[in-house]
Structures are given as C-alpha cells and as structure tokens.
Symmetry: C2
Subunit: 277 residues, 2 copies
C-alpha cells in the first residue's frame, strides 16, 4: 500500500476532516501483520538514520499534531523514539514561557530545528499558533491569519537548507477519544494525565476541526506536506507513519561520505602500534 500517496495532503486539496476515515485497517488482515511491517520499517529507519548521521548533509524534521489522547506519546515511545538518541531529539512545545512569549512565535521553534545529520521530532509545534491560539482567541484574527504564510516561508527556508519536513496529524474520532479518556480514569498510573481542560477542548471540537483544516489547506506544500493519519487503531497509526518516514528516508538516500583520511597512512600507524605492543 502507498501510505504516502494515500494520506498526503496535496497543495490543491480541500481537506474536509469529517470525510476522512479514522477507523480504517487498510490492507491488513490483523494487527500482527501490521506490527511486523512496522518493525521492518523501524529497522529501515534505524539503518538510514545512521547513514544520515554520518553523511552530515541533510536533516529530518517530523512534526506531530493531534487532539488529546490521539497517541503522539505512544507513537514516539513505540516507533519514532527508537532512533539513536545521539542523532535524534524530541521537543515538546507546551504553553510558551515568559521569555518565549516576548519573541515572535517562531523564535523558540527555530532553536530546535535539526542540524545537518540530525532528526528532530516536534511534539506539538508552531502550528499551535494557528490552532489553540486561534480557537481560544489568544491573539486577534489580524495576527493569526498572517501566520500561515509566515509558516510556509519559514519551512521553505528549512527545506532549502537540506531539511526534509514531514507533518503528521493523528486523526481520531471523538468517540475513540472519549473511550481513551475513560481508560485513563480506570488506570491509576494514568491519573496524572487527567485534566478537566480536555473536556473543555472537546466542546470546541468543531472549532478545532476548522482550524486544523485551514492549516492543512494553507500549509501543505511540496516542501513540507501534511499527512492525515487514521489513528483510531494505534497499530494502524504506527504502521502508516513508520511507512511514510521510512520511505522519505529511502528517498533522501543518505550515503557514507568519501573517506577523508589516508587509508594507507592509517594502516601504517596500525601496524606500527601493533609491533610496539
């Protein structure tokens, strides 16, 4: 199955989230079959990450956005976070600090973009500034409406410097979300995640839906596409995202750089050290 084609938002698309499936199991007979593919993808990703790291020419930025309980944390823990931490960092973007709020909205984001050879995973991102900020009216419309273009310019700059950008929206139904909230209530080790605010956000589901649709329609570009991933089944979310990431890294085709040192010289040094021993 071509997950990239299936879930990529084309610049010409007019996304309507309610028409996008959340529950599909795709071509998979059962969960086990999908998990096997995910494991294969993770191996591919790990191998290519090593090459990316050594090559030190390109970088990869993965942006994750989703409603509460849609599974960003699980996706990081079980799939994306299995890259070598020496070349991959996760950045959570929470409510901005006083210092961050004293700058433009991209200031704190730009400090976390990946250097050559590195991978960065954004758990939430600059898109919050056209999502929660818009829905909760934290700035006037005259401010947030200009941000789509500012974001596109910003992402174009990153891409021009060798950063591959993949943006994932984990799409769950309100019914599945409520089911997951319920599971948190039943599991004491998840009680720290409980937050009355989650229910307030649910009341504004349609406002958030519209804000997300605008972000996808205005900011899914050739350089930095959005993918809308059916996520009611966690294993389906994992296989779809890992397939798209693996394929993008295959396409980036990182290569071991030409040897910078004189092999003959190194061999001579080795032989001499061996003799001395």
């Amino acid at each position: 199955m071509d997950f990239d084609k299936e879930y990529r938002v084309e610049p010409s698309d007019e996304v309507s989230l309610s028409k996008r499936d959340t529950k599909t199991k795709g071509p998979f007979v059962d969960k086990a079959e999908a998990v096997a593919v995910t494991e294969q993808n993770v191996k591919t990703i790990q191998e290519l990450q090593y090459r990316l790291f050594v090559e030190e020419k390109q970088s990869l930025l993965i942006v994750l956005q989703a409603p509460d309980a849609a599974g960003k944390d699980g996706l990081i823990r079980k799939v994306l976070g299995r890259m070598n931490p020496q070349g991959c960092r996760t950045y959570p973007f929470k409510v901005p600090s006083t210092i961050e709020r004293a700058h433009d909205f991209l200031w704190r984001i730009h400090q976390c973009t990946p250097a050559r050879g590195k991978v960065a995973i954004f758990n939430r991102s600059h898109y919050e500034d056209v999502l929660v900020v818009r829905v909760e009216q934290l700035v006037p419309k005259s401010v947030w409406r200009n941000r789509y273009e500012i974001i596109n310019d910003f992402e174009r700059n990153l891409a021009a410097n060798g950063t591959r950008i993949l943006k994932f929206y984990l799409h769950i139904s309100p019914e599945e979300q409520l089911e997951r909230f319920h599971k948190r209530l039943e599991n004491p080790s998840k009680h720290w995640k409980l937050n009355p605010g989650d229910y307030e956000a649910r009341e504004k589901w349609d406002d958030y839906r519209r804000a997300y649709e605008d972000a996808f329609n205005k900011c899914s570009t050739e350089d930095a596409p959005w993918y809308i991933i059916p996520s009611d089944h966690k294993w389906y979310r994992d296989v779809a995202v890992s397939s798209i990431v693996a394929r993008a890294m295959i396409d980036m085709d990182p290569a071991f750089p030409p040897i910078q040192v004189d092999l003959v010289e190194i061999r001579r040094l080795y032989e001499r050290a061996k003799e001395k021993q």
Copy 2:
C-alpha cells in the same frame, strides 16, 4: 553481584588504573546470561524513568568518559538510549565552539543539565577540561589544577537540587583498543570513524592514565561517584552499567504524585460527554 560496590570509587580510594581489571566476566558463565540481566535492567530503567518523568521532582545525570573505541556510543545505542526520548537526552561534548570557548568551561555544560523529571546522558563532559586539556597543555597547569574543586562545587550544587549523578569510566586495555581500531579498518561502514589522531592519543596513554586517575581521586564524591567499568567485553560493560543505573533509580524511588484534579468532577465530565454523544 553488587556492581555498585565493586566498581564505585570511594572518596578515600587511591585509584591506580593499571591494577584495575579490564577483562573480567564477573559471575557470568557466558554472554547470554549477562545479556538477559541487561534486558531486565533496561525494563526496570524504562519503568522507573516513566515515574521519574511523571513525578517531576528529581533528575538523573549520567556522565560517560573513556578512551577512543571503549564503547560509549555502543552503550548509548544498546542500553541507555532505550529510555523514552521525551524524558531523556544525550549531549555530546566535542571541541568547544568559539562562543563556548569565550566562557568558563562549565558554561556549556550547565545548559545541558537535566531539569526535574528528566535524564541527561553526557557523551564526554566537563571532565575533558582536566583530561585532554591537561594532557595537550591547552591551558597552563595553574588553570586546570583549580578545576577539580570547581567541578566538585558544581556537582554539589546539582545534587542539592535533586540531581542524581553517576559517572562512568569505560576501562579498556590498550590491546583491546588496538583490536577495535583494526576492526574499523576492516569495515568500510566504519571508515568515517578513522582518525590519525587516535594513534597520537595512544602514544600518550600514560599521560591520559595519570590525568584520569587524578580526576577519579579528586572528584569521586558521595554526591557524584565515579565508577570504573571493565569494558574489554562489551556485554560486561552493558550489564555492569545498566545494573548500577537501575539500582540508583530504584534508590531514587520516584513515585506518582498525588492526584491534582478532582476525580469525582472528571468522572462527571466524562458521563456528561458520554450522554451527549
């Protein structure tokens, strides 16, 4: 086996590295037996890291120092790096940048110490400023000789703020190092690691040994102990370090915090949302 007791440098010890074994297999009959213990340790570490993250009161700092090819990267990839990246970051300290060099030697280090709830892994560290800097005479003795006390003060401050500090030296023999250099020569995918400088450092093995011994003797404190880990066998290094880290985290005993929200209220919100659906 009590790995902590076996390999911890006590403040009263006078370490002589040449008297410390590099090749031991400890109590293990074979590698498989040790790997099983390591896997168990990793599970313990992962579970306790989750609690540490949620508790948000303490933090953990792991410092790794070693000669070239002693296995810092392998230890991170196979063991320590399997913590959840949302709560754990690896920091490599390489040759300081122009900006870093314009500050005191702890300036860049302090920016990377772990926040409450987090784990930081230092791949090399502020100890380079009494190791390579001393051996290569990058600053005069009058400067580096004061650094041991400055380091102890710095680490005491971190500990006072709830940071548990574990410092590991991966101890390999010069023979094993040379063997690993040879393997790099034989494996083209490792050629990017080749560096004539590695052989220059070998020439100064005794100078480095003395510098390491001074660091252990002056800076292994109650708050921030050094451990000298026999590392000629990679699997032994992995089981020893993971055992010490797991035990330290058990001792930290991170706990889920008391619930901050009103469970009855959340349950009511859930029921109401369920009815509406």
